[in-house]
C-alpha cells in the first residue's frame, strides 16, 4: 500500500532513476554498471557485505563523486546529470561516518545547514527543536559535536538530514555499530518517515534489517547488483537453506572429485572444507552419505550451519551464472 502517491499527485512516480553507474579506484572497479529505479514512497535497501560498493553508489548518487562514462541520474523525472548541485536539496543524507563539523555544537551544525539550504532563521529554530526532541538530543543542543558518542552523532546526522524536509532520504548503514537503544530509535524513526511518504534508500549489511524494513532489496556484491527482490521472495528462497561443510579423509582421485563436485554444486573453501548450500538438509546429508559409501570415500568433520549472508551471495552468484548459461544454450 502506498498512501504517499495519493498525497502528492504532482510528483513524478519515479523518485530515483539511476543508469549505468561506474566508479573505478585505480584497477579496482568499486561500482560496476549499476542501474536501478526507486518509486516514490518506496523504501529500498541495498544489501551487501563490506566493500561491496554501497557507500560508493551513494557518493555517486549524491554528487560527492563525479559521474563516469555515460552514467545518468534522474530525480523525479528530471535528468540531474548535468547540474547536480541544483537538485541536492531533494536529498537528506545520513552518511556512514558522521560528517558534521566536529568543532561546532549540535545547534551550530543545524544553524549552518539551515542557512546553506536557505531556510529562514525562525523556521530553522522551530524545526531544530522538533527534530532534537524527536531524536532525544535536545539536552545536547549546546555540546560540541566531537564530544558526542557514536549513537548521539548519528542522531544529529538524522536531524541534519531532515532539517530541510527533503522528499528523498539516503541512509548509509544508519544502524551499524550503534547501541541497541539508538538502533531501535533509528528504526522506529525510519519507519515513521516512510509512513510520512518519504522515499528512502538505505544500505545495510544486515539481512534481517533489510528484510524487516524494506519494500525491495537490491543485493550487491563486488560492485554489481545480483538480485532485486521483495523481502518475502528472499525469505521464501532462503528460509530452509543451510550450509553443509565436510572434509574428506585421504586423497580423492580426479574422477571421484569430479563426481562429488557435480553432485552437490560444491564450492571448495579454505582449510580443505568442501561446502555447499542445501534446501533440504536431511535429504542432502543422506545423499552425501550414500554417495560416499558407494564410492568408498571417507567423510569426516561434517558440519551444518545456517546460511549466512555471505553464502546467500555465493548462492545467488552461482544462480546468476546458471541463468546466463541456460540463456546461451537456448
Amino acid at each position: 500500500m502506498k498512501t504517499t502517491q495519493n498525497q502528492n499527485l504532482n510528483a513524478h512516480p519515479v523518485a530515483i532513476n539511476v543508469l549505468n553507474l561506474v566508479k573505478r579506484f585505480g584497477d579496482l572497479i568499486a561500482v560496476d554498471d549499476v542501474s536501478f529505479k526507486i518509486a516514490q514512497g518506496e523504501i529500498v535497501g541495498i544489501l551487501g557485505p563490506n566493500g561491496a560498493g554501497k557507500t560508493t553508489i551513494i557518493r555517486l548518487l549524491t554528487g560527492v563523486f563525479q559521474l563516469e562514462n555515460n552514467a545518468k541520474i534522474g530525480i523525479f523525472g528530471k535528468d540531474i546529470t548535468k547540474n547536480p548541485s541544483k537538485y541536492k536539496k531533494h536529498f537528506g543524507i545520513v552518511p556512514e561516518i558522521s560528517n558534521a563539523f566536529s568543532d561546532y555544537s549540535v545547534w551550530q551544525n543545524l544553524k549552518f545547514s539551515g542557512r546553506i539550504y536557505g531556510i529562514s532563521k525562525g523556521k530553522v529554530e522551530k524545526r531544530s527543536k522538533i527534530l532534537l526532541t524527536q531524536f532525544n538530543l535536545i539536552e545536547k543542543m549546546y555540546s560540541k559535536t566531537k564530544t558526542l558518542s557514536k549513537g548521539l552523532k548519528q542522531r544529529l546526522n538524522f536531524c541534519l538530514a531532515l532539517l530541510h524536509e527533503p522528499p528523498i532520504l539516503i541512509l548509509d548503514e544508519p544502524t551499524s555499530g550503534l547501541d541497541p537503544i539508538s538502533v531501535k530509535l533509528m528504526r522506529t524513526q525510519i519507519l515513521k518517515l516512510k509512513r510520512e511518504g518519504k522515499t528512502i534508500l538505505i544500505t545495510t549489511h544486515d539481512m534481517q534489517e533489510a528484510q524487516n524494513m524494506c519494500d525491495r532489496i537490491l543485493i550487491i556484491n563486488r560492485g554489481k547488483i545480483i538480485a532485486d527482490e521483495s523481502p518475502n521472495t528472499l525469505r521464501e528462497q532462503f528460509k530452509s537453506t543451510s550450509t553443509i561443510l565436510f572434509k574428506i579423509g585421504g586423497d580423492l582421485s580426479a574422477e571421484q572429485e569430479n563426481a562429488l563436485l557435480n553432485m552437490f554444486n560444491i564450492i571448495k573453501e579454505k582449510n580443505d572444507y568442501y561446502v555447499f548450500s542445501s534446501y533440504d538438509t536431511l535429504k542432502d546429508i543422506s545423499k552425501l552419505h550414500t554417495f560416499s559409501k558407494e564410492r568408498n570415500i571417507k567423510i569426516s568433520d561434517l558440519k551444518v550451519r545456517e546460511t549466512s549472508l555471505e553464502e546467500v551471495f555465493i548462492h545467488l552468484i552461482k544462480e546468476d551464472l546458471f541463468v546466463i548459461k541456460e540463456d546461451e544454450e537456448k
Binding site: 579506484f25 554528487g63 563523486f65 541536492k88 558534521a100 541534519l160
Partner: protein, 267 residues
Amino acid sequence: MIKDSLNRIWILCMKNVFLYIKKGPVLIFGLMFPFFMTLSWVIGRDISVNQVFIGIIAMTSFFTATAISPVVLPIETREKSLERILSSPISLNEILLGILFASTLYSLIITSIIAVIFIVMFSIAFNSLIVILLMFLGIGLMSFLGSLLGLLVAAHPTDMTSDVMIIVNLVKFPLLFISGIFIPLQNSSPSMIFISFVSPITFLTDLLRFCVDRSNFFAYSFDIIMLTLWIIVLFIVSYALHKRTMPKRLSEAGKSKKKMMMMKKNM
C-alpha cells in the same frame, strides 16, 4: 540566484573563520612566524622605524593570508565534513571563494590592527589620506594574493595539513627572502632586482615605501598593477587545479589513516 550564491559564500566564509582560526598551524604560521621573523630581523640592527613598519606590515599580511587557506580543505577532507559540503547545494566556486574570503578577511583584520597600533605608538606620519587608503589597498591586495597562494597549494589532494604546510613554507620563505623587504631595492644589484620581480612581496613593500616615506623604487601604480596581475594568474591556475583535484580528494581520504596504521603495525 547571485544573491543566494553570495549568501552561501558568506556562510562558508564565517564557518572557515570560526572553525579554523584557532587551529595550530594557523596560529603558528600566521601569527608566531611574522612576530619572530621581525624580532630576529630588527634586534641588534640599526633600522629606522619606518623600515620596521614596512617590514612588519608586509610580512604580517603575507603570513596571515597564507595561514588559513591551505589548511581548510585538508582538515575537512580528514574530518569528512567536505563530504557534507559536497553533497549540499554548494558549488565548487562557492567552496573556493568561501575559503579565500575567510583567509583574506583574517589577514586584513590582523594586519590592519597591527598597522594602526604601530602608527599610533610610533607616530608614523602620512602626507595625505589618499596615501593611507593606498596602504590599505596594498594590504588588501596582498591578503587576497596570499590567500590565493595558500589555496593553490591546497589543490594537492591530501588530508594531512602537514603535507600542504611544508609546501606552503617551501614557497613562502624564498618569496620573502628575494623580495625587497630586508634590503631596499635601491641598494641591490641589478640581478637581485631582477630576481625580486618573482616575488609579489616586492611590490607590496615598494608600495608601502611610497606611502610611508616615498623611498619607493617603482611607480606605485606599477606596484598595484603587478599585485593585480599576480592575483589574476593565481586565481586562474588555482581554480583550474582544484577543478581537477577536488574529485580525487575524497578518494584520498582515509589513506593517511591507513598509512598511520601501517606505521603503528610496523613499530
